[in-house]
Assembly symmetry: C2
Homo-oligomer: 202 residues x 2
DNA sequence: GAATTAAATGAACGCTTGTTTTATTAATTG
DNA sequence: CAATTAATAAAACAAGCGTTCATTTAATTC
């Protein structure tokens, strides 16, 4: 056999991405073989190389598109000139929803960084830093205007990011909690954590 | 050559553990080869098998002893019959200090769970659950006595654990912050997060 | 309908993996 | 000092790895 009936490049590539995200998230990049990915797609391992030059290229592309999607999703909902409390609320809400919907993808992007080459690692980290800077800016504005209590902007930003990203470790939809409830509870914790003063005075 | 002058089983085993923790933490269990561990110790790969039956046995033992040490360290400082706020403070403080001192070990225990067999995975998870239960108990007591504001005990426990464990991701000693400062700041955030009422009334 | 392009196969490559076996030397014991 | 045990080296093992190559078939184009 060679080319199979009904085969389509675009569909195959999409299937490879999905299978790879799923397997990488579940078993880890290093533990997954190209033959396992191919088997999940329903092709031979050699077929993968039509779409991605190497296994690492595949990993990198998954991470790159994940980070781009994360930044893009924040760009859509980001309040233009709102006060810090409102911006912080929007950030947390968007972050939680995005991560719950993309658990596997997030897992890969957070856990498999060490499998990237130096150059590609710093490329992904640059995207991550850009995203985290959004939160730091909100916290700084909040601290300066007195609407938020922030001892240390960098430390608080990391603490909040860790807390709200951690949702993917334990949360599974279809259980006792809905995404809405989880997002609301995390938002409440974040606002208490920053002692958010919700009385407007601008 | 065979046995080398000055060779000592206990020292070799300890060196294997240290080298393995370090390499597993840096590059990931699957990416590290037995030959790399052996090279870091200064022996041949076959020598490892005098001390650990398989590579997975080595990983498991590192995780098991890490979790045992964590639980043991809490046992030492745990306040017997103190009020919830004081117990929560002690828990966070101990957790931060332990994890900062054992970054590599924590990394391995948190990230390499999927490389364990089913049986061993549940053994480690049982230890982890026992540890986390301590926090949940504190939060429940605090909620019932009105000293802590906790919407959802399980969710809050996970959020706090994620936040205070996340310190190992970014914190490096010898930088602008000391362990004491970091522990203090995280404690302050935790207490605000739970809206801890520090006015005693028992 | 022939020529071309796209999509995939199947076999093979060189290399590395975790592990086992065997032999050898150092330290300890009686 | 002889016998035994502990600690290692060295070499080999089969299995599996990511990747390449030549080839074949399906779909498209002219």
């Amino acid at each position: 056999m060679a080319r199979t009936t009904g085969s389509d490049g675009e569909r195959t590539e999409a299937a490879i991405r999905e299978a790879a995200v799923d397997l990488f998230a579940r078993r880890g990049y290093e533990a997954v073989t190209t033959r396992q990915i191919a088997a999940a797609v329903g092709v031979q391992a050699a077929a993968l190389y039509r779409y991605f030059p190497t296994k690492e290229d595949l990993l990198f592309e998954l991470m790159r598109s994940h980070m781009a999607a994360l930044i893009g999703s924040w760009d859509v909902v980001r309040p233009a000139d709102a006060d810090p409390v409102e911006r912080l609320s929007a950030f947390v809400d968007n972050h939680i929803r995005f991560h719950v919907e993309r658990r596997h993808s997030t897992h890969v992007s957070n856990m498999e960084l060490r499998s990237l080459s130096k150059e590609r690692l710093s490329q992904i980290l640059r995207l991550r830093t850009a995203y985290e800077k959004e939160l730091r800016t909100i916290l700084r504005d909040g601290a300066e205007s007195g609407r938020l209590a922030v001892d240390d902007v960098g430390l608080t930003a990391m603490a909040i990011i860790q807390m709200i990203t951690g949702v993917i470790v334990w949360f599974r939809p279809d259980e006792r909690l809905s995404v809405e409830e989880v997002a609301r509870t995390y938002l409440a914790m974040t606002l208490r954590l920053t002692a958010a003063d919700s009385s407007r005075e601008n």
